[in-house]
């Protein structure tokens, strides 16, 4: 279809006067020759919306540039249902509010943004969603502990068929082995009967839940909406499921190669899990004195650096086991800090009230056999004294270690398991994306995700199941899931030019790409989170989205009028990540801060989607520098696509090569990181970079 494009410029929100909207419209009309160019006092008003509808219908435009506020503001108002393409150009926050109203530089910036928008629109095509023919509405839950049981129940109660796979011969996991459960609500004075029995009953009675005991996963292939799962068990079965909840749990920490408070060497030193087994078997012997060591191998550089969050509660519970059975036994609890978050503090206080439970804040320095007793040396932190004590049993409160996720046996190019984050747990992002993993459609719940107690694991089961349901429903519509929820574009590859370099398959954080035997990438669109990192990675520029392509962005970059005279008007191109950096910039605008009028900002899905060719395009065009701003990389990353901004850092080496080969200073490219709250920081980053560019001087390609 022939493209016929228009331009609408909004004059509301103090935009009109700041940029001289009407003369801008006239200038663009003459320069870009769109079918129509109109200004309006408030395009988002009912009158404005009717105006857009009427004018675009009468001019028969196939798309238009909407200059005013940017994407993310009033999206639902400006969404066009009739197939008309819309390119939003943010001249409100990026120009009108942040540059001197009416100034020549301000008007030039507005002109450039319109040129960029128009150029982009010319390259844009309509998005056709990827929709599988037959999305499976069944859900696989791996692991029959509390998290898995709760997930299965919630899935079935919402009408989805659930396959619950458990490798053991019975359901319940660790929780089924505990004699009593830590109280989780008032009153905190008594231990509770484990809730897991009730969960097992519910699961067994629900017709929508199919239980596969003694089963393991041989292989998982496919993508959300159509995972193919081969089970190994009594009957080898193949399932087709839409999404997966992984609740394969944890194991108690027990080092093989290091000593841990005499565990395995001194008689009578056991772990909390051992004690639980004794209590369950009713074989816990009476002892005169029992000592618990908290953080045994936790919060310890030599062992587990993290806190498992449950061990304090467990030891308090087990102290009560002992005290309830043996009234003459003295229990010592040696701790660094007692961590009983929330209302569990009330349970701590209950236990404190027992005068025979003695709390010692300090560190155990030595555990030795002393006749048939155990002698300990404790350095007490409060009194700065060394305490000696003899007891009959030492219980180590050891932490939780996640099980391997490779038991999922994913048939993915990037490996059988789910990529690990900190401390071998596989969560995606603790705050922003709980339950998510870097394998779209596969969600984590319980001890595999983070150390946690039974109530939290159950809550996790519910949360992960909601995600799994959401995934299925999104697949049916062809929508992306979080964080680009509802995005229907997906990567399309022009394979004729692909050199099988595998960069896309390796750099995709989500394992979207598999490979043919010859190494050619195969896209699984439903695994894709639409970050565009593959597009940024591809040296052959074969990857594109319907509304984002290499050429589209190059056209935008080249559409800017770069003045020949540097002295007055340098130009800097900014790639700004739309997740954190762009909102930070918009916040700066709302707070009345000023953006340097010589920068031209292009929002990107992720800094990782910036392709090297855009850099050379910009430099050949005569921009004096390129500033990229993204989310903070590293272990505590903020990046919405896990390692997009990190990749940018790695790629900057190749940028430097590009610059050197063009005989340019490597300082012309700078990468900065900012948090979403960093409004003043991002302005400072821009200003600092502009000063640097002043020092470096003009791009010699300017007048070529």
């Amino acid at each position: 279809m022939e493209k016929k494009l228009g331009i609408f410029i909004c004059k509301g929100c103090r935009i009109g006067d700041a940029i001289g909207a009407d003369s801008l419209c006239a200038k663009m009309m003459a320069e870009l020759k769109p079918a129509v160019c109109h200004t309006h006092t408030a395009l988002c008003s009912p009158a404005g919306m009717t105006f857009i509808a009427d004018e675009s219908r009468s001019a028969e435009v196939t798309g238009f540039v909407l200059a005013g506020c940017g994407r993310g503001t009033k999206d639902e108002v400006f969404r066009q249902e009739n197939g008309i393409l819309v390119e939003r150009v943010n001249i409100r926050e990026m120009v009108a509010w942040t540059m001197e109203p009416g100034a020549e530089d301000t008007v030039m910036a507005a002109e450039d943004y319109l040129r960029m928008g128009y150029a982009g629109l010319q390259q844009m095509t309509a998005v056709t969603p990827f929709i599988l023919g037959d999305v499976s509405k069944e859900i696989l839950v791996v692991g029959g502990g509390v998290a898995g049981l709760k997930a299965a129940i919630d899935g079935a109660e919402n009408g989805y068929r659930v396959h619950l796979v458990e490798q053991a011969e019975g359901l319940g996991g660790w929780a089924a082995r505990w004699q009593k459960q830590i109280p989780f609500d008032q009153p905190f004075s008594a231990l509770r009967d484990p809730v897991v029995k009730g969960l097992i009953n519910t699961v067994q009675q629900n017709d929508l839940i199919t239980i596969h005991l003694n089963s393991s996963i041989e292989r998982i292939d496919g993508q959300p909406g159509e995972f193919v799962v081969s089970l190994n068990g009594k009957h080898n079965t193949s399932l087709r499921v839409g999404s997966i909840v992984t609740a394969t749990g944890w194991k108690p920490y027990r080092p093989d190669d290091k000593s841990l408070y005499g565990l395995g060497a001194v008689d009578g030193v056991i772990t909390s899990v051992d004690l639980e087994a004794e209590v369950a078997a009713e074989t816990m012997p009476r002892k005169d004195a029992v000592l618990f060591i908290q953080c045994a191998g936790s919060r310890d550089k030599e062992h587990l650096p993290y806190c498992s969050s449950v061990c304090c509660g467990i030891s308090l519970k087990q102290a009560k086991y002992i005290r309830d059975r043996y009234p003459d036994t003295i229990v010592y609890i040696v701790y660094k800090d007692i961590r009983t978050p929330g209302f569990l503090e009330d349970f701590y206080k209950e236990i404190q009230d027992d005068p025979s439970i003695i709390f010692i804040r300090g560190a155990v320095n030595a555990v030795d056999q002393s006749g048939n007793r155990i002698g300990l040396k404790i350095s007490d932190e409060l009194l700065a004294e060394t305490l000696m004590v003899e007891v009959d049993r030492v219980v180590l409160a050891t932490g939780m270690v996640p099980n391997e996720t490779t038991t999922l046996n994913l048939g993915y190019r990037l490996g059988k398991g789910i990529p690990e984050l900190k401390y071998a747990f596989s969560d995606s992002h603790f705050i922003c994306f709980p339950y998510e993993t870097r394998r779209t459609g596969i969600y984590l719940a319980g001890g595999i995700r983070a150390p946690m107690d039974i109530p939290s694991a159950m809550e996790d089961g519910s949360g992960a199941m909601l995600k799994a349901i959401q995934m299925i429903e999104a697949s049916i519509r062809g929508d992306a899931v979080h964080p680009r929820s509802g995005d229907q574009s997906y990567p399309e590859l022009y394979l004729d030019r692909c050199t099988d370099c595998k960069r896309c398959t390796e750099e995709c954080p989500f394992g979207t790409y598999d490979e043919t035997s010859s190494g050619t990438p195969v896209v699984n669109p439903n695994r894709c989170r639409r970050c565009g990192i593959c597009l940024g990675s591809c040296p052959e520029r074969v990857i594109s989205f319907a509304d984002l392509s290499i050429n589209m962005m190059s056209a935008r970059i080249k559409a800017v009028e770069v003045p020949d005279e540097f002295e007055e008007k340098p130009r800097v191109l900014m790639f700004v990540c739309e997740n954190d950096a762009l909102p930070a910039l918009e916040m700066a605008a709302r707070e009345g801060m000023k953006i340097n009028p010589y920068v031209r900002i292009i929002p990107v899905r992720c800094l990782g989607s910036v392709n090297r060719v855009w850099v050379s395009d910009a430099l050949s065009k005569g921009y004096d520098g390129i500033l990229q701003i993204g989310c903070k990389p590293g272990d505590d990353y903020q990046c919405h696509f896990i390692h997009g901004s990190e990749l940018t850092g790695q790629r900057s080496e190749s940028y430097e090569e590009t610059l050197t080969s063009m005989m340019l200073e490597p300082e012309r490219i700078r990468t900065e990181y900012v948090e979403i709250t960093g409004a003043s920081e991002i302005i400072a980053q821009i200003d600092a970079y502009m000063e640097e560019i002043e020092l470096i001087g003009p791009n010699p390609f300017k007048d070529m």
């Binding site: 003695i358 709390f359 007490d380």
Partner: protein, 366 residues
């Protein structure tokens, strides 16, 4: 320092019982030590005592000089974020100490258990009656009130002096044990030790000036009440000694305008004022802080009744009351409670605190 943990749960429960504080509630934050104006900067109290108490570490508390440096101002209890009362815990420890060092031990039990109060009263009643019987005057005399007709002065002075010396003499064994225990506590204090007498001299000055009490912040009225009782009692003691002298030299009874008589009456007014303040303070304490134990009330009651009965005995003499001799007998029982029972009641703090402070000063702990 090496400490072997030997928790005495019964002791921990006893301290909790006396103080009415839950030791477990203490989160060992140390605010108590920070706000205490009496605590030394090095190894301050009462935080460490709170930790020891939580562990039931009897030997770290009984015989600990710091326990006696505390004057129960209650500043720590007021500031405690967990609502524990360290001041009361230390007071309870002192109370447990009277019992621990009581020699003979049954005297400690006798005066710490409310159930044994009748026996504690019966003991002086019987003994005093027996002495009077031995003197051959066990009947109410006729005529104008003359107490020496009922209890001859020689018998009175000899028996009470003898019994007091006996009580103190035996109790001294306990005090010696206390002194030994004090010596187990060493401190990282600078400089050489100060001699016993030099230390005692400084302690004496502090006691006379009530300078420690003066450092209390919240409860500083206690300095006044203690001051009144302290000096009222000392003056009355002097008057009593003069009265004994007067009796021996046959100048007894003293007339109302005798300077000693006047001094005695002024002293009783001081005592009434001080004791009244103390009782009022204890009755109007804020909920939960500074609990008054049986031992506190027993001692206060004995002092108050002693003063009251003394004044009444005097009045009965001048006014020739019929019940004069009954009052007199009652007064003597009160004297017994205060003076002869001294080492086993709260009055024992007179000795224990002085000894403990002397030790503390001798190791330069101030």
């Amino acid at each position: 320092m090496m400490t072997t943990l030997t928790p005495d749960i019964a002791f921990k429960k006893e301290i909790e019982h006396i103080s009415g504080s839950s030791l477990s509630t203490c989160m060992q934050c140390g605010v108590c030590s920070v706000v205490c104006n009496l605590s030394p900067d090095e190894q301050p109290f009462p935080r460490k005592e709170m930790v020891y108490a939580g562990w039931g570490m009897r030997e770290k508390l009984i015989g600990n000089p710091d326990v006696w440096m505390c004057h129960q101002c209650g500043d720590c209890s007021t500031s405690c974020p967990r609502g524990v009362n360290p001041a009361d815990v230390l007071a309870a420890t002192r109370e447990a100490s009277y019992r621990h060092y009581a020699t003979p031990a049954f005297m400690g039990r006798l005066l710490s258990r409310p159930a044994l109060l009748p026996l504690a009263i019966l003991l002086p009643v019987l003994i005093i009656a027996a002495i009077i019987w031995m003197a051959g005057t066990l009947s109410i005399p006729d005529g104008a009130v003359n107490y020496s007709l009922f209890f001859p002065h020689a018998w009175l002075n000899a028996s009470f002096t003898g019994l007091t010396l006996l009580s103190y003499g035996v109790a001294a064994i306990g005090i010696t044990r206390f002194w030994k225990d004090l010596n187990r506590f060493s401190y990282e204090s600078a400089g050489a030790k100060t001699g016993f007498f030099a230390s005692f001299w400084k302690v004496k000055n502090e006691i006379l000036a009530h300078s420690r009490f003066g450092r209390c912040e919240r409860n500083n009225s206690r300095k006044i009440s203690h001051f009144l009782v302290f000096y009222g009692f000392i003056l009355l003691l002097l008057v009593t000694l003069y009265a004994i002298y007067a009796a021996v030299t046959d100048k007894y009874p003293l007339s109302l305008d005798n300077p000693f008589k006047i001094l005695g009456n002024v002293s009783s007014v001081m005592l009434f004022a001080g004791l009244g303040m103390m009782i009022f303070n204890r009755l109007t304490k804020r909920e939960g802080t500074e609990r008054s134990s049986y031992a506190d009330w027993l001692f206060l009651a004995a002092m108050f009744l002693l003063t009251l009965s003394g004044v009444l005995v005097q009045a009965a003499r001048f006014l020739d009351w019929q019940s004069a001799y009954h009052l007199y007998f009652f007064h003597l029982v009160c004297v017994w409670f205060v003076i002869i029972y001294l080492p086993f009641t709260k009055f024992g703090h007179l000795v224990y605190r002085t000894v403990a402070l002397t030790y503390a000063f001798s190791v330069n702990r101030k």
